[in-house]
Subunit: 194 residues, 2 copies
């Protein structure tokens, strides 16, 4: 326990600071001071600044494993899709900095993108695509539905809600109390249309 104290403190502080200002926007001097640790501890535990960043990424994207369990739910495709939407929203609530690493790595990939980020996103999307294909084969969804484009549309809808917060919070209420209403609205959009 005590051995990990400084290590976890550094990851926690780095998660916040790297998210707020990016990998190049924070110095390890400032970061270690904010964590209440000596600057040399970063090299000692993580072999330098990049190693600390990769540890943060690994921690943030580990939650994508949960997507596996949705695939194996004993329910229909529409229920699985609702589970996906609910999980996506909750993921952004539980990991408020995740979307920053997500978009930062997609637009300015570091060397860790292909090792950590890409596999996580690809696996989650593939599972969503399989769910939609299941619905098309069942004749529950339209047969001319493109599963890949539809999956991207769903993922984009939910992620953009959180991504746009800073630009829309003046006229759109983003509080968690509205999450269930949002899920209902999204599901209605996809089942009933406009």
């Amino acid at each position: 326990m005590e051995k990990k104290d400084y290590k976890t403190a550094l990851i926690a502080t780095a998660t916040r600071l790297f998210a707020e200002r990016g990998l190049n926007g924070v110095s390890i001097r400032e970061l270690s001071t904010a964590a209440g640790v000596s600057i040399s501890m970063i090299s000692y535990y993580f072999d330098g600044k990049e190693g600390l960043y990769s540890a943060v990424l690994l921690d943030q994207f580990s939650c994508f494993r949960y997507m596996e369990s949705i695939k194996e739910r004993a329910s229909g495709p529409l229920e699985k899709i609702e589970e996906y939407v609910r999980w996506s929203i909750q993921r952004n609530r539980d990991y408020p900095y995740l979307l920053r690493y997500y978009t930062s790595e997609l637009t300015n990939p570091t060397r860790y993108f292909s090792i950590i980020v890409q596999p996580a996103l690809e696996k989650a999307l593939h599972i969503l695509i399989e769910i939609i294909k299941e619905g098309v084969e069942n004749k529950q969804f339209r047969e001319d539905l493109n599963p890949e484009d539809t999956a991207l549309a769903m993922a984009g809808m939910v992620n953009y809600y959180f991504l746009s917060t800073l630009a829309t919070q003046k006229f759109i209420n983003h509080s968690p109390e509205r999450d269930e209403e949002l899920i209902r609205h999204y599901m209605d959009l996809f089942t009933k249309g406009l």
Copy 2:
């Protein structure tokens, strides 16, 4: 013309480099060398690195003004929405680096966010919201449709298609030849549902 030569060369090079590695990921030394200009020209023309960055932002987000003209089209809400989707896709084609500034400023805002980025995004979204409200009042769309959430869903769908490119290009074809098919698919999703 000749007076602006170095100035425009600096903006062009900065647009690419800041997009690829972020404001803090590029030094003005490297940038000026890549542009074939002396480093002191950045202070001379833009009053420093930040000034150059703000000039890039201003240039990238100026295309959002076009959204005004969609509002005033003499057509129904559904046609206006299709115009919005088409414009959003074309915008990402014409300005391949725009989405990087877009997401970077939304997740790690600089001091120019509230001056340049926020007003552009807010105006475009408000126009889209008005179009959807028009459709609800016409009884063309469902009366329980939430215009704000729907507008975000549409914007998110299109932007995420481009944002996700790096993670999905192995299994989703993102070439411009498919854009019209994509527009049709998105419009079908919103009119017919799944």
